[in-house]
């Protein structure tokens, strides 16, 4: 075990520099530390001006996504000991505008997420007095995987399509749309089809598959998109063969 380890962190201070630079911090190595612990140590003891986002420290909030040695990671679940001897390179997520140091702006995703209507849509709402919308464990099982998404944006950062075509709705938003499409209580699939089967929807995806590889919650967004392509294509064929709105 080494006695110390170094983090090479991307710095961007818009009031001082027009392009990011790198700064290296060295500190005693501790084997139980994750990258986020190290960043907090740097901020507390070495350089209070370093900016980064974090909250829960346990892989639930999805705030601490950064690139560690070039791969998008949740820094709260990435141990220093896996990257020895270092130095370990920490950078902000790719393809999002950098606000400062390791902090990126997620407005683009928030706007796209809203477009896919990630909520239960009913043709007619039940009155609260009429009881809940019931669901069996099997029905829950069909979409549960997609509901595990924590909006950490690692999948966007891993997707070269999103980098090249920023208008692409992207992996997490499509997986979350699919989460509601497959929910037995939902009746909004036709509304979501409009946005998902447009140019910037599923057909932009050419199945690189990296989104699924980097996902810390095993959501499998690539799977969600390919499944939706099948749905989209089936709907298109149906609309062609059955022109009288039999969809």
């Amino acid at each position: 075990m080494p006695s110390s380890v170094a983090l090479t962190v991307a710095r961007y201070r818009p009031e001082m520099e027009s392009e990011p630079t790198f700064q290296t911090y060295e500190f005693p190595f501790r084997k139980d530390w994750v990258v986020l612990d190290a960043l907090n140590h740097v901020k507390d003891s070495l350089d209070g001006s370093l900016s980064f986002r974090w909250s829960c420290r346990m892989g639930v909030c999805g705030s601490c996504g950064m690139k560690v040695n070039g791969t998008p990671k949740l820094t709260c679940a990435t141990f220093l000991s896996d990257y020895l001897p270092g130095p370990i390179r920490v950078e902000p997520l790719d393809y999002f505008p950098v606000v400062r140091d390791l902090v990126v702006d997620l407005t683009d995703f928030m706007r796209k997420l809203k477009q896919v209507k990630p909520w239960i849509i009913r043709k007619e709402e039940k009155a609260p007095g009429d009881g809940e919308y019931l669901q069996t464990p099997d029905q829950l099982d069909t979409y549960k995987q997609f509901s595990m998404c924590i909006n950490c944006m690692l999948c966007y950062s891993a997707c070269p399509i999103y980098g090249l075509e920023p208008s692409f709705i992207g992996p997490a938003a499509i997986a979350l749309a699919q989460r509601y499409n497959m929910d037995s209580r939902d009746e909004g699939a036709a509304e979501r089809l409009k946005i998902l089967s447009e140019h910037d929807g599923i057909w932009q995806c050419t199945f690189v598959g990296e989104c699924t590889k980097v996902c810390p919650k095993h959501v499998d967004p690539a799977g969600a998109i390919q499944q939706y392509k099948l749905t989209g294509a089936t709907n298109w064929v149906k609309s062609l063969l059955l022109p009288w709105g039999a969809r």
Partner: protein
Amino acid sequence: MSAEPHYTLYHPRWYRRRVSVWWWLQKRSYTGFVLRELTSVFVAFFAVVYLWQLRALTQGPEAYEQFLARLTTPLFLALDTVAFLFVLFHAITWFNLTPKAMVVRWRGKRVPDWLILGLNYAAWLVLSGAVAFVLLRE
């Protein structure tokens, strides 16, 4: 909400990193993806040759002989070999995609990926065998 954010005096001065021209060399999966995009030309080439063959077939035995002779020239043999390898690459990556796109549920449980993949490859083998049997019998 409009797609482009409004810039105001106090809006953060964003830094947008440019995507490098060589991004597709950074990871094997990226290279595979770009290779798949580019080599689709060879899949199209295969289809064109096939159409050309059909055309020769409709023009009678002489034209068909001529077509076959042209196919055995070194240029076509080389092109065909390269095209065949890339079509194989496309076929395999396509088959590997199927368990992602097809979610089959059997008695409330999701059928495992390897089984769907295995069934697809088995169907491919059986169909190829059947075609080979029809073509090669005397």
